[in-house]
């Protein structure tokens, strides 16, 4: 697939080795399949994680990954060399998921990113009052974080997964989700605030909060 006679000739065993020895194996001597192997296949774990975040089922995620790579391979000549291959694969994965699952992409009402950031500041003040400043550095919260991410509504979970778990920039996440960068920002901040609310509540229920001065005074009297 994607082979051209001149390219194949250059890539034949001894000739290929000789050329690479003389001119140092430039990347343009790779066949498209070799580029796919070098640029797309290393992202298999990331695409699998992303697929799981969509399906939330291991077996469905594996089917989705297989279909994603098949579509990516068939469309490899459309991939712009030098662009973010991982973001390109995430886009294909997401399209495939919505096409095959017949799920509707949910529309979210307008949110104000900066109000969400201020809301998070208020949550911190409440957490401080309960002695929960260090709640996120406790290993016990790891499973609670995973459960809270799984429970987020789809539009917020998608951006949290892309930016916070897969380390995509706002720009790349916007490209994958086909929404404006400002929408990525507002959904991300809302998703983070929802997670913090849930986790602080979990920490209180789990008894991580220390007794407040008012509680102590009440007990003493």
């Amino acid at each position: 697939m994607y082979s051209q006679p001149w390219c194949d000739a250059l890539n034949q065993g001894p000739l290929k080795r000789l050329i690479r020895k003389v001119i140092g194996a430039p990347s343009d001597l790779r066949t498209p399949d070799e580029r796919f192997r070098d640029e797309a296949l290393p992202h298999l774990p990331a695409v699998t994680r992303f697929a799981f975040s969509l399906t939330r089922d291991e077996s469905d995620a594996e089917d989705l990954v297989q279909e994603t790579y098949l579509r990516a391979f068939r469309a490899w000549d459309q991939f712009v060399q030098g662009s973010e291959c991982r973001a390109w694969l995430f886009t294909i994965c997401r399209h495939t998921y919505f096409r095959t699952s017949h799920r509707e992409q949910r529309v979210v009402a307008y949110e104000d990113a900066e109000l969400e950031a201020l809301g998070a500041a208020a949550l911190h003040t409440a957490a401080q009052a309960d002695g929960l400043d260090d709640v996120f550095s406790r290993t016990e919260v790891m499973e609670a974080i995973r459960a809270a991410v799984d429970a987020l509504p789809d539009p917020f979970r998608e951006v949290v997964v892309l930016v916070d778990l897969e380390e995509q920039s706002y720009e790349d996440a916007a490209r994958v989700l086909e929404i404006p960068k400002g929408t990525v920002r507002s959904r991300l901040f809302r998703g983070r605030r929802l997670l913090q609310e849930r986790l602080i509540e979990h920490a209180r229920d789990a008894g991580f909060a220390r007794a407040t001065q008012a509680d102590v005074t009440e007990e003493e009297t």
């Binding site: 697939m1 192997r37 699998t48 594996e62 950031a117 500041a121 911190h124 706002y170 920002r185």
Partner: protein, 83 residues
Amino acid sequence: MMTEMLDCDSVMRQLWDFLDGELTPDREKAIRAHLAVCNRCHPQHDFEQSFLRALSASRREPLRPDAIKARVLAVLRAEGFAA
């Protein structure tokens, strides 16, 4: 050039952009300068930073990476993949 002076409200509104590395270098510098001297915003910064670190560390790795790779390669080879 002088560093821009920011108040606590502006810093709180942009704290996540700052932690995500999404601000311009000048704005980043101004926030860093504010955080260095503000007893109110600095704990907020540490709290948000520990939240983002924990969130990032919660990432689940695929359960069967080798099996998925073998399955994908088999499908690609059937399609003509030869690398």
